[in-house]
Symmetry: C2
């Protein structure tokens, strides 16, 4: 039940959330976001920022609150959030918290085309993945500990969650690797053979080809 938003990108959410604090101009939004480390999870693209701000204004979620000029710098338009904007921010937050996402996960896509590579190579690749994951986990854990010194828990939940997910990912990858490396993964032989011939085993081909259009 993901609602259609007037402006749908997550950058728009970020913009709303900073303008909700106080009016500012577009460039400042980017700076604030950047200083909050938000650019880590959602890279701020300049082109998108201005498009998004314009669209938010066009749909009445932001409104121009005059323009100011500092020194001889180019003039800049200051935006403030509208009541509608606040409502949208709250509603969107509600949705993000309550609806589990069915995002297209890239790794899942990878798994789904994995059979195209031989099992030995897959094993090596997954080992690389696991290493990278462990590095990431270590780095994130460190960053989290640094932050929990100053910031209240409420503001680091995001990182805590990210860390938990990576750990789960690492655990799953490790388990799969054990099966592959230990040779206990089922039908390894067939998988390997399938590369020499380029043909799927008969029973699989049958099923893959359209077994279940279960209507």
């Amino acid at each position: 039940m993901v609602k259609r938003r007037k402006v749908g990108s997550l950058l728009a959410l970020a913009v709303l959330s900073v303008v909700a604090q106080r009016p500012m101009h577009a460039y400042e939004m980017a700076s604030v976001l950047r200083s909050r480390g938000k650019d880590q999870d959602m890279a701020i693209k300049w082109g998108s920022l201005y498009t998004v701000v314009h669209n938010l204004a066009r749909h009445g979620l932001l409104r121009e609150a005059g323009s100011d000029r500092q020194g001889g710098r180019p003039e800049r338009t200051v935006y403030e959030i509208t009541e509608e904007g606040r409502a949208e921010l709250a509603d969107w937050t509600r949705e993000l918290l309550s609806d589990p996402e069915e995002a297209p996960r890239r790794f899942e896509a990878g798994l789904s085309v994995m059979a195209g590579l031989p099992p030995e190579e897959v094993t090596a690749l997954l080992r690389r993945r696991l290493d990278a994951l462990q590095d990431l986990i270590a780095a994130q854990r460190e960053a989290l500990e640094r932050d929990t010194g100053g910031l209240p828990r409420l503001f680091v939940l995001e990182s805590e969650y990210g860390l938990a997910m990576r750990e789960a990912e690492a655990a799953w990858t490790r388990a799969l690797l054990d099966e592959l490396a230990g040779g206990t993964f089922p039908r390894l032989e067939e998988w390997r053979a399938f590369h020499g011939t380029g043909r799927l085993p008969a029973d699989v081909a049958e099923l893959a080809e359209g077994g279940r259009v279960t209507d």
Copy 2:
């Protein structure tokens, strides 16, 4: 180290992976993908499909292999994969398997703006999330057990992984809910108060502002 692909959308990956089996025309690609249940994780948008196929052809990853006409149906262009296309598919698979993604997770975005809602509401929303997650998990588990009857493990890994991730998500959500409902979450009072006043506690404001917005 995510490489820039000539055609970057995951739909392109899916297209390459089906055309790698045998030449086909665009509409058929969609049907095969649909029959494989791929439309669950990645909804196939018609507009995108034709754009993507054209772009793949433009970049030499697919090539036209004539056109056929069945009955009086509109003529359709049949595409086959090129050597370059196969190479791209393999390389892309390698990347997807070995590089952990740093995808923008929507729930993380939600957590990062969560402070804008009062803790009671957040608790209710997370409870809704947990319920939904549990329903999803039950459904996926059932589907998986049905499939493992016929399909070899290699072809259901994707679902296994998805299931594992949802379970991890549910576990994390449950733990957070316990803290919120049990009142052990730190500084709950301040969080609640902050809604009456609309102002952040002093120390948080200072840190959140990062001191970096030099004015």
